[in-house]
Symmetry: C2
Subunit: 210 residues, 2 copies
């Protein structure tokens, strides 16, 4: 005989968020909803799939920027490994490219960390009932921005150039010639319409292309 005293079946939620305080606060608040139960909390991206396999949540609430594995990549993995689990992305940045990638990864919803906490439980319920939860303005922005024009290699080089790495550093890190690296950087700078690698990185990040 189940020890659950509630009549309605409660919604099982997996919570992935690296900031301990926010994770704890959200878990407590969600746990107070009568029909919601937080069955797992993780602080790293590479723990998401394991936790989902173990606890079989109905909804996974995923941050994007996580140590280990991105929440977007985790969403894609969940799609195949735990297909019954619906994914709700919860992120600081409403970048067009993030939303696009979230949708391509099969996410059912996309929330930004601004906006009131009250939205959260509501979004979880709507997502579970089959709705897709996305801010319309953000969706429009994502559509009008168009897809990522950068090739995989150009993204690699931009990512590797973060933190002030020199061309030589990047070349060594990616096992490329220095000339090749400069060519990729140059073309990324061209495609982003910027003047140097820093601006190109900024722009690519802003768009959610990295």
């Amino acid at each position: 005989m189940p020890r659950d005293h509630r009549r309605a079946k409660s919604i099982r939620v997996l919570l992935a968020e690296d900031q301990g305080m926010l994770r704890g606060a959200l878990a407590l608040l969600l746990g107070m909803e009568a029909d919601i139960e937080v069955v797992a909390q993780v602080g790293a991206g590479d723990a998401i799939v394991d936790a989902a396999l173990t606890h079989r949540p109905d909804v996974a609430l995923l941050d994007i920027e996580l140590p280990g594995m991105s929440g977007l990549d985790a969403a894609a993995e969940l799609r195949t490994q735990v297909p019954d689990c619906r994914v709700l992305i919860l992120t600081t940045f409403g970048r067009p490219g993030y939303l696009r990638r979230a949708m391509e990864a099969g996410a059912a919803g996309f929330l930004v960390k601004d906006g009131p906490v009250e939205d959260l439980a509501a979004a979880i319920r709507r997502v579970l009932s089959g709705e897709t939860v996305v801010d319309p303005a953000l969706a429009a922005a994502a559509l009008s921005a168009g897809p990522n024009p950068l090739t995989a290699r150009e993204c690699d080089v931009l990512k590797a150039s973060a933190g002030g790495a020199t061309v030589a550093d990047i070349a060594a890190g990616l096992h490329l010639s220095e000339s090749t690296v400069r060519n990729y950087l140059s073309s990324a700078i061209g495609k982003t319409g910027t003047r140097n690698r820093m601006e190109a990185m900024r722009e690519a990040r802003q768009q959610g292309w990295l």
Copy 2:
């Protein structure tokens, strides 16, 4: 006749945090503590002092990175304009320089956003009772790291060089000659022991010097 049903006087808290969801969640949780009352919530640094003057909180819980005015600057202002209000800094980054500046600004405590939510209410009570709340390991790091070696101008130039601005941009923005800008950048790079402006910025940020 006061409508407050509790016997004990409750602790009046001002909450300054730009991320809406975290702000809302913390406000709800703190409000559930029997002896704590959130009397004001703000999402911008330049609203802190006004709100404190209006609502006369016992404790101000301040994020550092805020739009408008830094939580550290706001703490310094509170020190003079609302001296009875104790300041508890709540930040994502446990940078040594942040802790140092927080203490110099008269903060009574310094919490990082990792670590459990449960610490928060406890820290508020301890701060109010006169204790200073600081993670000992972080305090040691701040002490051993030494003070900021950069001059005010060097900081300005580093800040202005964020986002990929060229020397010409920085010079124009700060009304300086390009030679001067390059000299400041060079000396900042030297003092940080780095190889270029990007690394210098990274390091200076890491240390909390900006």
